[in-house]
């Protein structure tokens, strides 16, 4: 990668091969260390807490993996899960992205066959760190294809530690992104490799890697839209070559077929708008290829004739095809895009039409501090990397630039997608840092070699140190060599003539590459190393403090030591030991996966959120008065209701804070729930100024029942920082069966229907037998 500094001490072939061999061995060991680093930095949560699965979604994946290891793959493909979304159930085989579970299941199986008895949970917990090591190696390979080994190693070490990626792949975060990011980078690497070498073998591997990506994550649509965009960019900027055709066309055909093989994608691979870009560019590249071929076999005059003929006929045909396509696409209400894609393209779409997508905290747009928290130093190394990519601009570097720009846009829409930005930022920063190091070390080597040779022209050699221009001119020299080699296209004949003349002129005036003054380069080298030091310190801090919380166990430090809040597992364990196997538990959808995985009970709604009406039913039940809520839950055969309450300990993500979303989602389907009814003057309050609808709602009652007993009559809510409004009340339709140690989870049981109703006679009351669970009143059916 380094340009030979001066011509006087040319290395002999033997010493240069030795140097290359030494460099390769060193690179190998560095890569090994990078893998170890990537693995170990993610182990903080295991050290600080325990080896446990984190958050919510990983519990579902863990449950699916357990099922897979117990029952085998055929039962897994055909699994219909009736313990969730009661009474609808869920077709697991057809709605889950199987890559992660199949990967972990395979690893477990291999280890079992080698007689290494790791439990499924251990394999699940440590899958993410292992695959992040692989992702770092894939980044090395990708950047090596773009710029060279030095940039590759730098990018790999940056990716191993970038906080954004750590946040989604700590030990215990057993989620799709753990393997998907590796698949993403590896697919991009194989695409660039195919583009650089033009080998059909790598094209096949590329399609298989893309298949693995489709299996792993819904974000595969990013790949199948980015690669066609890049192909279009190459065609439009005149960089079409037959290698581009070989890189793209087999990928589209094989990739579409392989994507259709995955049940969750199925025919969406050919019918949704997310894939249309690839087909359009497929047609475009065939037209372009044909045009180049005909241009090659005809004389220029005849080609002009052909062009005019084709253009006149082709325009008509094109218009017809485009009209048909537009009609087909416009006939569907969402223009063929799925809801999630639309919410990405139009950031305001979700809040208007799909409140569930808008309510997830990971789907909010990021704030500026989160860029610095998640990317740190990379945030300002990226522009330097972009400039370095432009000199020289090759197919591979144009791809990386496009990838970066697209991922920056999408990361601005959703915080969760900062994860897709992280590899691009690492690649760019790796390129920038590597180029900077090149210049500095070249200056130092140059100075040392000059010093040791006592040349007379020492004084006039080094040009005044301007950071930008020497770098540019040095790189321009390299660019000229590359342009002469890389662009044999006929269009640039004129430019080439100029370029050929320029090196002859330049080589007379500058025999040596430009370098910086040696003091400046030493200082700059020191500063760059310091910059790297800052990045490392920040990444380790972020990994240890910010991103290692398993969120199923909470800790807090106080003057008398460490408090551990293990309330969630306490509640789920109570449920699994004290209720019947077939009992249904209702809670807000956040806790569905955990309840099915840890408590092993049937739930009504869970984190998959595929059925908005069902979630709205639960939301309505929570927002209604006690009796109406009881009726809704009773119609769903619910036995227990689970509520998360943080008022006693100050846990801010409890159900009362999420209550407005329940109201909004419920109100979106059942119009008798109106959000303004729960707000006093537009403010959400639960104190004495709260609206009566709020104070009577089921959620309020279930959260604050007997709360005044905890602090002697005041009922001070530590999260909302006020005293509660209604302090003393009784529950008529529910009975409290369990409250955890810190009151964080509260479980209530539905009281059975009374046999006879005392008091005033209701309208259609007749002598009902004790066994029919029919209420005496006219049943208001909320969903008719």
């Amino acid at each position: 990668m380094a340009v030979p500094v001066d011509n006087l001490t040319k290395p002999t072939p033997a010493s240069s091969t030795l140097r290359f061999a030494f460099g390769n061995v060193l690179a190998f060991f560095i890569l090994l260390l990078i893998g170890v680093l990537a693995f170990s930095i993610r182990l903080f949560s295991v050290i600080k807490y325990e080896s446990v699965i984190h958050e919510f979604d990983p519990y579902f994946n863990y449950r699916v993996t357990q099922f897979l290891t117990k029952n085998g793959i055929y039962d897994f493909w055909n699994w219909f899960d009736d313990r969730t979304w009661y009474p609808l159930g869920r077709v697991i085989g057809g709605t889950v992205y199987p890559g992660l579970t199949l990967t972990a299941g395979t690893i477990w199986k291999v280890l079992q066959s080698l007689n290494i008895p790791l439990s499924v949970e251990t394999v699940c917990v440590f899958t993410a760190p292992v695959f992040s090591a692989f992702a770092a190696w894939a980044t090395y390979l990708l950047t090596k294809e773009v710029k060279g080994t030095g940039a590759g190693l730098t990018a790999a070490v940056l990716l191993a530690m970038v906080p954004s990626y750590i946040s989604r792949s700590v030990a215990g975060s057993y989620d799709n992104e753990a393997v998907a990011i590796f698949a993403l980078i590896f697919t991009f690497y194989l695409y660039i490799k195919t583009l650089n070498t033009g080998s059909l073998f790598y094209a096949t591997l590329n399609s298989i890697a893309y298949f693995y990506m489709v299996c792993s994550w819904g974000g595969y649509t990013f790949i199948i839209n980015l690669i066609p965009m890049h192909v279009l960019l190459c065609i439009v900027t005149g960089r079409y070559s037959s290698r581009l055709y070989i890189a793209y066309a087999p990928l589209v055909v094989l990739g579409t077929l392989l994507a259709a093989l995955v049940p969750v994608v199925g025919f969406n691979a050919v019918m949704t708008s997310e894939h249309f870009a690839s087909f359009l560019v497929f047609i475009v590249i065939h037209v372009v290829a044909l045009a180049y071929y005909i241009k090659g076999i005809l004389s220029p005059k005849m080609f002009k004739v052909a062009a005019t003929l084709v253009v006149s006929v082709g325009v008509v045909v094109c218009c017809a095809v485009v009209a048909v396509l537009v009609a087909v696409v416009a006939s569907s209400p969402t223009k063929g895009w799925s809801g999630r894609s639309l919410s990405l393209l139009d950031p305001t779409y979700a809040s208007k039409y799909i409140p569930i997508i808008a309510s997830v905290s990971e789907h909010q747009p990021p704030t500026w501090p989160s860029y610095f928290m998640d990317l740190n130093v990379l945030a300002f190394l990226v522009p330097a990397g972009i400039i370095a990519c432009f000199a020289p601009l090759s197919d591979a570097s144009s791809f990386v630039i496009l990838y970066l720009v697209m991922s920056v846009y999408f990361s601005g829409v959703m915080v969760r997608l900062m994860l897709v930005l992280a590899p691009a930022a690492c690649i760019m920063s790796g390129i920038a840092l590597s180029e900077a190091f090149d210049v500095f070390t070249r200056s130092i080597k140059f100075y040392i070699s000059n010093l040791s040779e006592f040349l007379q022209t020492d004084a006039g050699d080094t040009l005044p140190g301007n950071n930008v221009s020497p770098q540019n001119e040095v790189l321009k020299n390299e660019k000229k060599e590359d342009t002469l080699k890389e662009r044999p296209s006929r269009k640039n004949k004129k430019k080439e003539k100029e370029n050929i003349e320029k090196p002859y002129v330049k080589s007379k005036t500058e025999k040596r590459p430009l370098v910086l003054p040696v003091e400046a380069s030493f200082f700059a080298l020191f500063l760059t190393v310091l910059l790297g030091g800052f990045y490392v310190v920040h990444s380790v801090w972020a990994a240890a403090e910010a991103y290692s919380a398993p969120s199923i166990v909470l800790t807090s430090h106080s003057h008398d030591g460490l408090h551990v809040f293990d309330d969630f597992r306490e509640a789920y364990a109570w449920l699994s030991h004290n209720t019947e196997v077939d009992d249904k538990v209702a809670s807000w959808w956040d806790y569905g996966y955990q309840t099915t995985a840890m408590a092993n009970r049937t739930v009504i709604v869970d984190n998959n959120t595929w059925n908005n009406t069902h979630i709205a039913t639960v939301g309505t039940a929570m927002s209604s008065p006690e009796k109406a809520g009881w009726e809704i839950f009773n119609s769903l055969d619910v036995k227990y209701v689970l509520v998360v309450f943080g008022g006693l300990v100050g846990y801010p993500s409890d159900d009362i804070n999420k209550f407005l979303w329940m109201v909004r989602i419920g109100g979106g389907v059942f119009p008798h729930i109106k959000e303004p009814d729960y707000l006093r003057d537009g403010q959400y309050r639960i104190d004495s100024q709260a609206t009566p609808t709020m104070l009577n709602s089921l959620m309020y009652k279930l959260s604050y029942f007997r709360f005044v007993e905890t602090d002697g009559g005041k009922g001070y809510d530590r999260v909302r920082r006020t005293e509660i409004g209604k302090k003393y009340f009784k529950l008529t339709h529910f009975e409290e069966v369990f409250t955890t140690h810190h009151w964080m989870v509260r479980i209530y049981k539905l009281k059975p229907q009374k046999n006879r109703i005392r008091g005033k006679t209701k309208k259609s009351k007749s002598k009902t037998s004790p066994t029919t669970p029919r209420s005496g009143t006219v049943k208001k059916n909320p969903w008719h």
Binding site: G198, L200, S207, S242, R243, A249, L257, I297
Partner: protein, 118 residues
């Protein structure tokens, strides 16, 4: 308008002749590959026509049939690109390696087709 149509017709004929003469000078092995590509595309068109008549019920079978034809056509074009002696980018690639890659890619393609055919 009359004059331009006459010249257009002349142009078209001249174009056709020059295309024909230029194409006849390609080597035979490339012409065989071209024939194979044409056959694959023709088969795909027949399948699409059949679907238009009969309906697309086992849609996965239809997709796999059409995409297998398109796939082998694309792969054959890639082979042609790599084997073509006039292509300077690939002059270091031995044609046996190109053919081996072609066979491998076809194997993967047809494995997937067999799986998806239902």
């Amino acid at each position: 308008m009359g004059k331009s149509t006459v010249t257009t017709k002349d142009d078209a004929q001249a174009l056709f002749h020059s295309l024909r003469s230029a194409y006849s000078s390609t080597p035979t092995n490339l012409k065989i590959i071209d024939l194979y590509v044409l056959f694959a595309v023709f088969t795909a068109l027949i399948q699409v026509g059949y679907m238009a008549i009969v309906g697309s019920f086992p849609f996965n079978s239809f997709l796999s049939g059409v995409l297998s034809c398109v796939g082998t056509a694309v792969l054959a074009v890639c082979l042609r690109i790599q084997v073509n002696k006039e292509n300077k980018e690939f002059k270091d690639l031995p044609p046996e390696r190109a053919f081996a890659d072609f066979v491998l890619c076809n194997l993967v393609l047809h494995l997937v087709i067999m799986n998806f055919l239902g």
